[in-house]
Amino acid sequence: MQYLLMLFSEEGAWSRMSQADQQRGVAAYQAYTQALKEAGVWVGSNRLQDTGTATTVRLVEGKSQVLDGPYIDSKEQLGGYYLIEAPDLDAALGWAARCPGASHGTIEVRPVWAMSGTSAA
């Protein structure tokens, strides 16, 4: 089964870190990604630009409404994700606990809705 690990954390914390700590942080994520890959668990992952770059779109009565900023304006924001392949939720939670993001933020673990008839890559 595939699980999406959504990494929520306080955006401002990153810019307040020293350069050395930032490097260390990036290296920890690289090591985590590497460990996921070697275990054959990794499907995909990305870090997102901060919510200052976010734009929301929706259609209201047929007209598109475009707004500047994130959908939910809160202190902790989605900063990135990992998509992993794990046999069950327990295994996915085990991997989530190892993510550096679990130490400085919160990780939401959600199973991917399995589509019948479509082949997963």
């Binding site: 090591a31 990604t33 939720l89 085990g94």
Partner: protein
């Protein structure tokens, strides 16, 4: 902000609360064990006990505490049990009431919580919870819920499982106990070896989960280590002729003694060899040594006594100022022969590295690398990285550190490994 007196009254209140919880927890396990054995049904016993607690919360404040609160609760619970009104509560309902009743009950009970109104059947309950017919992964959680009254959410968090899944598993296990007719009895001596291992393993698994939060950040996990020690003490008390129970408690006390030395003042990880001995808890170590001594008098060695003996060897430098690796290698060898565990094999290899050299140890790790159980095991990669680094194989060491860093759950260990990895560069 707070002055000294405020702090003291806060800590007094906390101490009173802890004492109350201990008393309540003791009697909770005793009451539930007795009821479950009586009704052959853990869920029904939880239901009945929950009803009795609700009655106590309503009755005691108005009419005063009864002389024998446990007997009072038992009488009411049995009557409710016979009523047969099933509300199909989970253990959580009782766990919540347990907290509410803790303070009240402590006032009416003697400080040691002894109340001999009915026999202690907690050991039989422990055997039922760890019966081989019950899935191994749920034995420790079930034990924590029934004997200690922890709620499913707390247990789930400690075992890194979703609360919903943990609730379901606990429910299934209780159903199995009822429907398969798992007995609430202490097995005959002949059948003991396997069955007692089940009990000891579940207590040990509880401790291991508690120990794995060296940050001390996670209250649930830290408490779990204390709960495990509580259970091990209970086992030693209930099984005074069982050296393995003593070995289990001794091993956990040794580990607990070194607990706060695992971090320095900055919160950085400190490996065993670099720990400040003065931070080790001498009283806990003395108690562990005495237990191990007592166990050895039975001349019946087992896994947990070996584990404890190893813990004792780990802290040898407290006495002699140095570590003697010969007994470490021998003890790990004996433990490996007994358990066949790849984790024991890994630890033995690290002791071998000190005694016979890096190449011998690296060869052992090479053999172990085919074991799938070690593929995601962070300490394997950290150990491999360390040995490779010491052997001057920097490229391979760098890679092994990378995997170890990626597998760790602990931020301080992550920092420690990152520093080691960075230290590889000239």
């Amino acid at each position: 902000m707070g002055n000294v007196r405020d702090l003291r009254s806060v800590s007094d209140a906390a101490a009173a609360r802890a004492a109350a919880s201990t008393v309540a927890r003791r009697s909770y396990g005793k009451l539930l064990a007795y009821l479950a054995a009586d009704m052959h049904d853990v869920s029904a016993a939880e239901d009945a006990l929950s009803e009795a607690f609700a009655a106590a919360l309503a009755d005691w404040p108005a009419n005063g505490c009864p002389d024998q609160p446990e007997a009072w609760l038992m009488t009411v619970a049995r009557r409710k049990g016979i009523d047969g009104t099933r509300r199909h509560r989970t253990g959580d309902a009782v766990a919540a009431q347990l907290r509410a009743i803790a303070d009240m009950q402590a006032e009416c009970m003697h400080a040691d919580g002894e109340d001999d109104a009915f026999p202690d059947r907690r050991l039989a309950l422990l055997f039922a919870c760890t019966h081989p017919a019950i899935d191994a992964s749920v034995r420790a959680p079930l034990m924590l819920q029934t004997v200690l009254g922890l709620d499913a959410k707390t247990i789930a968090s400690a075992f890194l499982v979703s609360p919903e899944a943990m609730g379901k598993r606990l429910g299934r296990a209780k159903q199995k106990i009822r429907e398969a007719g798992i007995p609430f009895v202490i097995p005959e001596r002949e059948a003991w070896s396997g069955r007692l291992d089940g009990v000891l393993d579940a207590v040990y698994a509880t401790y291991a989960e508690g120990w794995s939060d060296p940050d001390e950040a996670d209250l649930v996990r830290r408490d779990l280590a204390d709960e495990a020690i509580f259970l091990a003490r209970l086992l030693v008390e209930l099984l005074p002729q069982e050296p393995e129970a003593m070995g289990l408690l001794a091993g956990m006390l040794y580990a607990q003694a070194r607990r706060s030395a695992r971090r320095n003042a900055q919160g950085d990880y400190v490996p065993l060899a670099k720990q400040d001995i003065s931070l080790w808890d001498a009283a806990a170590i003395d108690e562990a040594e005495a237990l191990l001594q007592r166990a050895s008098a039975f001349k019946h060695i087992g896994r947990y006594q070996l584990e404890a003996a190893l813990q004792s060897a780990h802290i040898e430098r407290r006495r002699s100022g140095r570590t003697d690796w010969t007994p470490e290698v021998q003890l790990y060898g004996a433990l490996l022969a007994l358990t066949g565990s790849p984790v024991v094999a890994l630890n033995r290899a690290l002791a071998v590295a000190e005694l016979e050299g890096l190449q011998v140890a690296l060869a052992i790790l090479e053999d172990l690398s085919v074991d799938k159980r070690l593929t995601d095991y962070q300490p394997y990669w950290a150990a491999l990285a360390d040995l490779l680094a010491r052997a001057g194989q920097k490229t391979r060491a760098h890679h092994a550190y990378e995997i170890a860093i990626g597998l760790t759950r602990d931020a301080a260990v992550r920092r420690f490994l990152q520093d080691r990895q960075a230290g590889l560069d000239p």
